[in-house]
């Protein structure tokens, strides 16, 4: 029950991030969440949107390099210890995170943690056993 994330290659150049986000805004694509990974040479913009295929088509049309990856959207309590609880479960199962980022949902007290792991099914299983919920794409919007 993973969600689809779009990752966009961004050159390390002034204004490029703004170009991508402007393109999304011009096409009325709402970004639910985003994270940016950057190195000295380039960046990777990761976004969660409602209509993944429509957003991908816009990026393709404008010549961007992107890839779509299945990641897990883990429901998280918006209070102290919410993140720690999830990470402890994963650590105990020896599941390492490639990257993670979090955002708030439109519901009071609920946050969401996006995690990228090597094996989604394994992570989902241990989290479910610990009673932690995994959200679907629709539940994020």
């Amino acid at each position: 029950m993973s969600v689809r994330q779009i990752s966009v290659f961004v050159e390390n150049r002034v204004g490029l991030l703004s170009e991508v986000t402007t393109l999304m805004s011009d096409n009325e694509v709402n970004l639910r969440a985003l994270s940016i990974a950057d190195t000295n040479e380039f960046g990777i913009l990761r976004i969660i949107v409602e209509d993944v295929d429509a957003a991908a088509a816009i990026l393709r049309k404008h010549g961007y390099i992107y890839t779509i990856t299945n990641v897990l959207a883990v429901s998280m309590r918006d209070e102290a210890g919410g993140l720690a609880e999830i990470l402890q479960v994963l650590a105990k199962a020896k599941i390492s995170l490639e990257y993670a980022y979090a955002f708030l949902l439109n519901k009071p007290g609920v946050a969401c943690l996006i995690i990228r792991v090597a094996d989604n099914n394994a992570a989902e299983e241990v989290l479910a056993e610990a009673g932690i919920k995994i959200a679907t794409q629709d539940e994020l919007f």
Binding site: T39, R46, I65, E98
Partner: protein, 433 residues
């Protein structure tokens, strides 16, 4: 299939070719002596007169011409015919940015177009073919030369010129072009664009004639794959006439020099001494049939090898290897010789597009060496680690090839200016002179 455009010339015996060359050289030297005071003075300084030139065996006695001579004589100083007999100029900026203007009589254009017609026929072109000429038209020799050759063969000629890629692909598919003539980098770009537009299956192309730029065997395979063709090389330079000075045949094993029009020599670039066939050195041409702008012993700066072995295609004219670099194209970075073609080979081998830009600068008296490379879709990943690994592999492969470390910058696709004429592969910001 018609294999040769002028079989009696292209497959003439070596003795016949030598006889033509002897006779035409003697006549040409006299013509230049009588009509080009600049070259006559050069001959006088060397103590040579037309009487000393009795055959090609005496060619080495004649003085060289270089690009510096062309600059000095700009625009009319090397013209050997009255202007009223000239009908066209072509021009090139050359690598150093100084213009070269070459003149043609109608006879010169006819012979040049014959050379291009031989090249088109050699790749299988007949009057049944649709030949798309996507070299630039205008001052650049690529468009006019292949256009003329295509007419002579009787192909339906699409005079596209370069640029406007969407329209190129539209005509290519709608009119069923079978032969494509353009620069190799533009051919690669058209291949990529056709793939993106989902048009690859609609292409009817069978062969391509690509020249005016250095390109590697890897790039040839790349183009052949993306356009579904056999890709042939063609060589020429504005000073000597234009494309078609030499061309590749079906054997794809070197380019046949049109020896009934041009005598080729290989010299030691440092001493000017003529080297035996098979040795690597600078390629020098003498035009023996051109009237308006007949270069005698013109130094091309191309480093090359000649091969007189019999060719499987039946042509008897000498073959030249693809130039291995230009004596003025070579970069010396941190004391190491670097040819752009080496970088291109590594990029292709590592799965990157052969579209790159080398930027050399000098900061605090140390050379900096940067290469901008376009990120291909297949290599992109959502994790920094994967992308960085590819980047590191590329840096390592470049170091293995060149012996020095380049700083690689991954760029967005198509962000490096594409060549519709010639690609600007090297930006050297060092002020060394």
């Amino acid at each position: 299939m018609t294999k040769y455009y002028q079989p009696e010339i292209e497959c003439a015996s070596p003795e016949q070719i030598k006889a033509w060359q002897d006779e035409r050289l003697v006549k040409q030297v006299k013509h230049v002596w009588d009509n080009v005071p600049y070259y006559r003075k050069k001959m006088e300084e060397k103590g040579v007169t037309p009487e000393d030139i009795k055959s090609t065996a005496d060619l080495h006695k004649l003085p060289f011409l270089t690009k510096d001579d062309l600059r000095e004589c700009y625009p009319y100083g090397l013209l050997a015919k009255p202007l009223e007999e000239c009908v066209r100029i072509q021009s090139t900026s050359g690598t150093t940015g100084k213009r070269v203007v070459a003149f043609y009589t109608q006879h010169d254009i006819d012979l040049w177009e014959d050379c291009c017609a031989r090249a088109i026929t050699a790749v299988g072109g007949t009057k049944e073919d649709v030949c798309q000429v996507s070299y630039g038209y205008g001052l650049f020799t690529g468009g006019p030369g292949l256009n003329g050759g295509s007419h002579k063969v009787g192909c339906l000629t699409l005079p596209m010129s370069s640029g406007n890629t969407d329209r190129q692909l539209q005509f290519m598919t709608d009119l069923g072009a079978t032969i494509l003539c353009c620069t190799p980098s533009y051919a690669a770009y058209l291949g990529e664009s056709a793939k993106e537009a989902g048009l690859t299956d609609k292409l009817k192309l069978k062969a391509g004639i690509f020249g005016a730029e250095a390109w590697t065997q890897e790039m040839r395979r790349d183009i052949e794959k993306s356009l579904g063709i056999k890709a042939y090389d063609i060589y020429g330079l504005t000073e000597i006439s234009g494309p078609g000075v030499s061309f590749e045949c079906e054997a794809q094993a070197g380019m046949h020099i049109n020896e009934d029009h041009f005598i080729a020599e290989i010299i030691n670039p440092d001493t000017g001494e003529v080297l035996p066939d098979g040795e690597k050195g600078e390629l020098v041409f003498t035009c023996i049939t051109k009237e308006a702008f007949p270069m005698i012993r013109y130094r091309t700066k191309d480093i090359c090898v000649l091969n007189r072995e019999k060719c499987a295609c039946g042509r008897t004219h000498v073959r030249m290897a693809k130039p291995m670099g230009r004596s003025d194209d070579m970069l010396i970075i941190k004391g190491v010789n670097v040819f752009p073609s080496q970088i291109e080979a590594v990029l292709l081998e590592q799965g990157f597009p052969p579209n790159y830009q080398i930027i050399v600068d000098r900061v605090n008296n140390v050379d900096t060496f940067d290469i901008n490379v376009e990120m291909p879709l297949e290599m992109f990943s959502d994790t920094v680690r994967d992308v960085t690994t590819k980047e590191k592999e590329l840096v390592a492969a470049l170091k293995a090839m060149l012996g020095i470390v380049a700083k690689v910058h991954l760029m967005a696709p198509k962000s490096i200016a594409r060549s519709e004429g010639k690609a600007v592969r090297v930006v050297d910001k060092r002020k060394l002179f």
